[in-house]
């Protein structure tokens, strides 16, 4: 087990980063594209130049080459060697480290079975699905028993369903193997689901390091709140437990059905980019549908628009892409229909 300490790390993309990661902890780095998340992984692995110091278990790693840092790195694109079969990809790290052939076979078979990829061992990466590639890449990363895992948006290229399944599997494996892990994402939901702690990064600077619910419910700066898409935080006046693990919460005049894990809570956060919008009444059977009125529009950047709507006398912030916004074609004071999915309502119980 390894704890990591970054002291005064600066380079072309980071400014004075100080960060401690505990043994076996899952630290999620969250921030927009280009914020410096991947750079921090590259600094830890020794792939990027830096000023300052990196310590593993108190030992300075600055002069240690990437090959000797004992770090497993799962790249966003998986970086599976296209000229090697799945089996050869997984055994690559063991072979270059001159492990005995029997040991290699044993370890590779273990991982193949652990990740459920027995049916593709002789295939090349070209013909694999995104989910299969992800599993193979994860097996290759784990093969040499690294002390630290660095995961760079490993689910961003997968469809949501596969990503969800693999996310849970990966989290279970990480807990089971108890490996110190740093996970990079720009997906807030992913961050809140996986993290022991979250570090919010903006323009190469760490803005806040806290437990996921602290980041969401108690952001230290306005910039962190904005970075999370300005989620709407509502105080709950009344909570009524329902069947099927659900609860009905009343926040002022707004009633919401939420997933209830049995733990008490007194507020909810609604993730702004998860709310669905329509010009017309939403007919499906999903709960939490409301008629709302548009009261404010802010252009966040070239591709994102933030709007504020009022539903049941409650103001809700919604983030959406500029394309979707243009397609909606509505103006201030006009009516709009919204649906708030279960997954977008977070309760501070983690």
């Amino acid at each position: 087990m390894v704890n990591i300490e970054l002291k005064n790390i600066s380079n072309y993309n980071c400014k004075n980063i100080n960060l401690s990661i505990e043994d076996g902890e899952m630290m999620v780095l969250i921030g927009q594209t280009g914020a410096g998340k991947t750079t921090i992984l590259n600094v830890i692995s020794g792939l990027a130049p830096y000023e300052g110091s990196v310590y593993f278990n108190g030992t300075c790693m600055d002069n240690i080459s990437p090959a000797k840092r004992d770090v497993g790195y799962l790249f966003q694109s998986f970086a599976l060697f296209p000229n090697l079969t799945v089996r050869e990809n997984i055994s690559f790290g063991l072979e270059v480290k001159d492990f005995d052939k029997n040991q290699i076979n044993k370890r590779v078979n273990e991982l193949i079975s652990l990740l459920g990829i027995e049916h593709i061992t002789h295939r090349y990466p070209k013909g694999l699905s995104g989910g299969e590639k992800q599993r193979v890449a994860f097996a290759r990363t784990l093969a040499t028993n690294p002390k630290i895992l660095l995961l760079d948006e490993p689910f961003s290229n997968l469809d949501p369903r596969t990503a969800n399944i693999l996310r849970n599997e990966m989290r279970n494996l990480q807990k089971e193997l108890n490996i110190t892990t740093i996970f990079v994402t720009h997906n807030q939901k992913e961050a809140f689901e996986l993290a022991d702690r979250v570090a919010v990064i903006k323009n190469g600077i760490i803005e806040q390091v806290s437990k996921p619910m602290d980041i969401l419910f108690n952001p230290q700066t306005q910039s962190v709140h904005h970075l999370l898409g300005s989620p709407t935080i509502l105080k709950c006046d009344k909570i009524k437990e329902l069947d099927f693990g659900l609860a009905k919460v009343t926040c002022g005049s707004l009633s919401l059905i939420v997933i209830n894990d049995g733990k008490p809570f007194d507020k909810v956060a609604i993730l702004s980019h998860e709310i669905r919008l329509s010009k017309y009444p939403i007919d499906s059977v999903i709960p939490n549908k409301f008629k709302a009125k548009l009261i404010d529009i802010t252009i966040v950047n070239k591709s994102i628009v933030q709007i504020v709507v009022e539903a049941e006398e409650t103001k809700l912030t919604i983030e959406l892409s500029k394309t979707n916004w243009n397609q909606l074609g509505i103006g201030i004071s006009e009516n709009i229909h919204i649906a708030i999915p279960f997954g977008s309502i977070i309760t501070p119980t983690k």
Binding site: S45, L47, P66, A67, K68, R69, V71, G72, Y73, F75, S77, A79, F81, P82, N83, L84, F92, G93, V96, K97, Y124, P125, K126, R140, T144
Partner: protein
């Protein structure tokens, strides 16, 4: 049934186009439609000439001379081209040093070196080998550098983090992924080597297929010239297809 027809259709069209070309050649000569040249033989006579020349030392010796020159020149040119290309593609300093020189020399056609080399080397067996070396070396360097540089840094970083040395990364990750580019160079330049050797033999070397064609031209033996051209065409095809086959064997499964 329909898909089978579809899969055979292109092959049938290709064979038919060649047969049609031969038929037009044969009958246009036999019926006197070929404008103005009484020396031009029909295809059947060329075939007979090929058959006779197969037992004649003149064609075989000329062919052997050209083949030996192509084999030695191309082997040396392509091997050194690949080695230098890998070094330049892998090491930025080597690239920075050699790129300007390669860029200056690459556009010069191989035959452009002939007068200079005739003065420096003289007219002997080394001359065509050096010409073919030059012909294959520069394009293969260029393609190999491109192939090596096209390998995404992520693959190299992934291999490095898994503990691989530079040599292992080159051998197991980088060079295999650069093979499709290297084979493009080999396929194109193996044909070019034949075309260059024949041209060099026509101009400056007294032996080989090219020299045989020039002698046939003096004797107005169009049939021999056509035999030589067919041999040249077949050799270009064999060399190019050999490298296509080798490429398929080495990269076909994963590329």
């Amino acid at each position: 049934m329909n898909s089978e027809q579809n899969s055979y259709a292109p092959k049938i069209r290709s064979i038919f186009s060649v047969l049609l070309f031969i038929a037009i050649w044969e009958f246009s000569v036999r019926f006197g439609w070929m404008p103005g040249n009484i020396f031009f033989p029909p295809f059947s006579e060329v075939l007979t000439e090929i058959w006779e020349m197969l037992f004649d030392d003149l064609l075989i010796d000329s062919y052997k001379s050209s083949l030996t020159r192509v084999m030695i020149g191309f082997l040396l040119g392509s091997t050194s081209g690949i080695v230098l290309g890998v070094l330049m593609g892998w090491n930025q300093k080597v690239y920075d040093w050699l790129k300007p020189i390669i860029s200056i020399l690459y556009p010069i056609p191989a035959l452009g070196w002939l007068p200079l080399l005739m003065l420096l080397i003289g007219i002997n067996e080394v001359l065509p080998v050096v010409i073919i070396f030059i012909c294959s070396f520069f394009p293969i360097v260029y393609n190999t550098v491109k192939g090596i540089k096209e390998v995404k840094p992520e693959f190299i970083n992934a291999a490095r983090l898994l503990g691989a040395s530079d040599f292992v990364i080159l051998r197991k990750v980088v060079i295999p992924q650069a093979l499709p580019y290297i084979f493009i160079g080999l396929k194109l330049e193996s044909g070019a080597a034949w075309r260059t050797v024949v041209a060099a033999e026509m101009i400056a070397i007294p032996t080989g297929i090219g020299a045989l064609m020039m002698r046939a031209e003096n004797l107005m033996r169009i049939d021999i010239i056509l035999v030589c051209l067919i041999v040249l065409s077949v050799m270009c095809l064999i060399f190019e297809n050999f490298f296509s086959y080798l490429e398929y064997k080495m990269t076909g499964e994963w590329n």
